[in-house]
Symmetry: C2
Subunit: 94 residues, 2 copies
């Protein structure tokens, strides 16, 4: 089966995709701040992910794309807040 | 300060950005499968995120973009495996 590229249909899928992957970090940040239960979260994940989202933000700024900038600015703040909670856990360990 | 859009520089930032946000889910999936400690993970995050990445995958297919398809196919599998672990936790609760 060959699929013909369709930019207009893709746009209708790209927006909800961006909203879902951005909004996903709202319940995680909320849960982490409410419960302070971050033992199951991977520090390496949040280090890599926050750095990656920071680069996506820069990418959006360089392209002059407001949707990319807005989505990644929100995700960056949420991921950074979870990273901060996870990071704080470390000095407490023996 | 005004920033002039620079697509060639943006490309050099977009690739490491994509690699970081994709690779980030490898240590999380590894940790979750190894420890089975998923109490701090948000089920809603993984539901929204997996659905969003699934749409990004469809977006890449519709645009005929191999990098978008590959990055999101990997992230989709990793996020789905964490979602599955988290989902299994629920029926055990009273």
């Amino acid at each position: 089966m060959s699929i013909t590229p369709d930019p207009s249909l893709a746009e209708w899928i790209g927006y909800p995709a961006a909203i879902l992957t951005t909004a996903a970090f709202i319940p995680q940040a909320w849960k982490s701040w409410r419960t302070r239960d971050v033992s199951g979260l991977s520090l390496h994940m949040y280090l890599l992910f926050t750095a990656g989202v920071g680069l996506w933000l820069l990418y959006g700024i360089l392209l002059g794309s407001l949707p990319i900038v807005l989505a990644n600015a929100v995700t960056f703040c949420l991921a950074l807040s979870v990273l901060w909670l996870k990071w704080r856990e470390y000095p407490k360990r023996p």
